[in-house]
């Protein structure tokens, strides 16, 4: 068998081929369908809205992230490490739960409007562009803060000390150059993430004025059965995401180091009371902005537990099954790509970021429905689509670990003749277990909270928890929806914990 050396590379090539087939090949059955097709004025308006909301979301996230990160970088206080850890949490936070929390705070009968009502002020609406941007800032401010905080902590402490000794201004010498290096990449990364936003726009968008391209794809399929039109919109989305991803990669800051965010830098320029108060206000404000909606969502959820509809149990079972299947698929594919490494694997791993999950799912179903009924494949297709969507993140978590194992043990393994599947079993799998567990947990949690393709195809008795929650919100059963959201959150965190633990148990032996 294997002549030469190295880990098995063929599975990675196959997975890359599969990704290309899934992400691009699924457009074909849609393009072949007769439909109205042709992009019209309103589609260009959706494109414009998509770009505007993504730019505003990224700009505000990064703009607010700077003072918060600076405050976190130069202050030490009880709970700081917990707060920094929490900044990593929104990534696995189900978007629909986050939206529910924001509605509890800013919605029609939310706290803010109740307070405005008490003082006789005008009520504000959370629907439309500002609502979409608000939700995206809520979801991405933590990411921006972490990226920028990393930049601050990467400035060697000696330089601050030197600047203090010389009485040199820190801002133009140290901070501004660092920000100029970090900010464009952070902006581009968040911009790209917001481009394909679906559930936020579905719930908080207000009609044709606030429609993203992905939402327009949903409407073309769900409302008009205009498959060709949906595929054309998906191509448009590939184009804008491709450009954005190119920028993001070009401007990208170095990958997030796992550690290093724990320390703070001793600073001599920020000891004044004014600076202290400002920093405290920024940290407190950010913590409140992130924790209050979540707290409200949990509180409402606990209160609504008795309102949970009978369908919840089945939906929870289906969601767990979909999440676990998606996780297994994702980890397998990510491992194959990580072993293959190189440009092909990177490209295949990044492709799903630009793909439209809805088009991917529809393409698969249009092909499969000639063989089996829609109801038989709706859930398996959902798991597959979720797996594809999580792949970029799983690969990002796994690839550095696999690369390090190869760098450390690769030559020894080669010299021992450990190649192919044996090398995988004896060397790589045991050592990569923590990363595999983390990637699996990430994929499971993302799938658990994902309201995507199932919103198009669920037949009777096929709802997943996020879909059930969206339906309850549509019927204004907010208490029951909040309780469902709490269940989603709990199950997502539980699945993440189980996978992550599973990867770490006995990792030392």
């Amino acid at each position: 068998m294997a002549v030469g050396s190295g880990p098995p590379r063929l599975p990675g090539a196959l997975v890359a081929l599969l990704m290309a087939g899934l992400c691009l090949g699924t457009l074909i059955p849609l393009l072949l369908r007769t439909g109205e097709g042709g992009l019209v004025g309103a589609d260009w308006a959706a494109l414009r809205f998509t770009l505007v909301q993504a730019a505003l979301s990224a700009g505000l996230s990064v703009g607010l992230g700077v003072p918060v990160a600076r405050a976190l970088a130069r202050r030490r206080f009880p709970g700081r490490s917990a707060l920094v850890t929490l900044l990593g949490a929104p990534f696995v936070l189900p978007v629909i739960v986050a939206v529910l929390g924001l509605l509890a705070l800013f919605g029609r009968s939310g706290l803010v409007n109740e307070a405005l009502g008490l003082i006789g002020g005008p009520r504000m609406s959370v629907y439309g562009l500002h609502g979409v941007v608000l939700a995206h800032v809520f979801l991405n401010l933590p990411l921006a803060t972490r990226l920028i905080l990393q930049g601050w902590l990467d400035i060697p402490a000696e330089r601050f000390r030197l600047a203090a000794t010389l009485g040199a201004p820190i801002w133009p010498l140290l901070e501004w150059p660092m920000l100029r290096r970090i900010l464009p990449g952070a902006f581009a990364a968040i911009f790209a993430l917001c481009l394909t936003s679906f559930s936020v726009a579905l719930i908080l968008g207000g009609g044709p004025r606030a429609t993203t391209v992905e939402l327009a794809i949903y409407q073309a399929i769900r409302f008009e059965a205009d498959f060709a039109g949906a595929a054309q919109l998906a191509l448009l989305q590939y184009a804008i995401c491709g450009v954005a991803a190119g920028f993001a990669l070009w401007l990208s800051p170095p990958a997030l180091g796992g550690g290093g965010l724990g320390r703070s830098v001793e600073r001599w320029d920020a000891a004044g009371a004014g600076a202290r108060v400002m920093d405290a206000a920024w940290i407190g404000g950010a913590a409140l902005f992130l924790l209050l909606p979540l707290g409200l969502a949990v509180l409402r959820g606990v209160g609504g537990l008795s309102d949970l509809p009978v369908e919840t149990m089945g939906a929870a079972l289906r969601s767990v099954m979909v999440a676990v299947s998606a996780s297994v698929l994702t980890v397998g594919a990510a491992l194959a790509l990580a072993l293959r490494a190189g440009t092909l694997a990177q490209l295949a791993g990044a492709l799903p970021l630009a793909a439209s999950s809805l088009v991917l799912g529809t393409g698969l179903l249009l092909v499969l429905r000639s063989v089996v009924g829609l109801s038989a494949v709706a859930l398996p297709v959902t798991a597959l689509v979720d797996a594809v969507a999580s792949l970029p993140f799983a690969l990002r978590a796994l690839a550095p670990a696999v690369a390090e194992i190869e760098a450390r043990h690769g030559r020894l393994a080669d010299s021992l003749g450990l190649v192919g599947a044996r090398r995988l079993r004896v060397v790589i799998l045991p050592l990569a277990r923590p990363a595999l567990g983390f990637a699996g947990g990430l994929a499971a949690a993302l799938s658990m909270g994902n309201l995507g393709v199932i919103a198009l195809f669920a037949g009777p008795g096929q709802e997943t928890l996020p879909l059930l929650m969206a339906q309850l919100m549509g019927a204004y059963r907010m208490e029951a929806a909040a309780a469902t959201g709490l269940l989603i959150l709990a199950l997502a965190l539980l699945l993440f914990w189980i996978f992550d633990r599973g990867g770490r148990i006995d990792a030392s032996s």
Binding site: G207, P208, I221, F223, G459
Partner: protein
């Protein structure tokens, strides 16, 4: 359990089990509000199951217009036997999919327009209207509405039959001027919902002064809630008429049962509950007539496009709506 008792138990249970397993299932694809607990669904289910020896299963897929897309997506593999809740404006598009089979019913219909169709069977009808609270803003025409600061919730014409009805209403009333009216309506519209249920809920929660619904909507508040506080606004342009239809799916595995359901649909058991559950005019007026207070407002002028003309106008009219509102 000893063997004898098990055998007796099995024998005793057998007929019930057999009936549960053998009863054919009729799957009816319909819109959300039809199956809600106060909608016609429960009463219709009870009445039809009592006479058919079958099990009727309602499946919902949003509002009326989304039903057609759902069936197109499922194609010939659909489990639906009957689709209930398309309307006159979608009949031509539905026919063109080839997914529906002729039924051929001979019942005499009480519709305000001519209806002769061997495939799409009307089950109720009504006039669209802006509904508001008594004493609230009450514009007398679309033009007056655009000039007022009254707020309005409407439905998406791509997913909802009332939404589509409004788009064609403006087209019928204003023709080439309709896009300008949409443009002027933009600042009155609070939001666009995917279906009627969501829009009416928002209106009831006080999110807007007016909602696009039917002339018969106030009857619901009057009769079911004994609340005379809601009015349908008469518009000078006239009111667009909607005829709601059902049809047999061509790929059904229960063709006889589907035919039987469509016949049942025009009988007393179905039509009798329509006025006070779906709050629409029944396609065949029941023996007892319409309930008191049902007709609080009857339009002076009826606007209506027959199916073929509605289909020709639908695309451009929806596009005009989408273009105006996406600005």
């Amino acid at each position: 359990m000893n063997p004898t008792r098990a055998a007796i138990f099995a024998l005793a249970a057998a007929p019930a089990l057999a009936q549960a397993q053998d009863a054919p299932v009729l799957t009816v694809l319909t819109y959300d509000s039809f199956t809600s607990e106060w909608g016609p669904g429960p009463a219709v289910e009870k009445a039809f199951e009592a006479e058919c020896g079958c099990d009727i299963r309602f499946v919902t897929a949003g509002d009326g217009a989304a039903l057609l897309a759902r069936l197109q997506l499922e194609g010939a593999t659909s489990e639906a036997d009957v689709v209930l809740g398309l309307d006159s404006n979608l009949v031509a598009a539905a026919r063109a999919t080839g997914l529906f089979a002729a039924h051929g019913t001979g019942a005499a219909l009480d519709l305000p327009v001519e209806w002769a169709d061997d495939t799409f069977v009307p089950f109720d009808w009504g006039w669209f209207a802006m509904v508001g609270k008594a004493g609230g803003p009450a514009p007398k025409s679309f033009r007056e509405l655009t000039e007022s600061d009254a707020t309005l919730v409407i439905e998406d014409p791509r997913s909802s039959t009332p939404g589509l009805g409004l788009v064609l209403w403006l087209d019928a009333a204003y023709g080439e001027e309709a896009p300008a009216i949409w443009d002027a309506l933009r600042d009155n519209i609070v939001t666009v919902t995917p279906g009627w249920s969501e829009a009416y809920n928002l209106f009831l929660e006080g999110e807007a002064d007016l909602v696009l619904s039917y002339t018969t909507s106030p009857a619901y508040h009057l009769i079911a809630e004994e609340d005379a506080g809601y009015v349908a606004l008469p518009f000078e342009e006239g009111h667009y008429l909607q005829v709601e239809v059902a049809a047999k799916v061509a790929s059904t595995d229960q063709p006889e049962l589907a035919d039987r359901f469509l016949d049942f649909m025009l009988g007393e058991g179905f039509q009798g509950v329509i006025p006070t559950t779906n709050w629409m005019y029944p396609a065949v007026t029941p023996a007892a007539g319409l309930p008191d207070g049902f007709e609080s407002m009857r339009p002076a002028t009826t606007l209506f496009f027959p199916p073929e003309e509605a289909e020709a106008r639908r695309g451009p009219a929806v596009e005009a709506w989408r273009t105006a509102l996406s600005q």
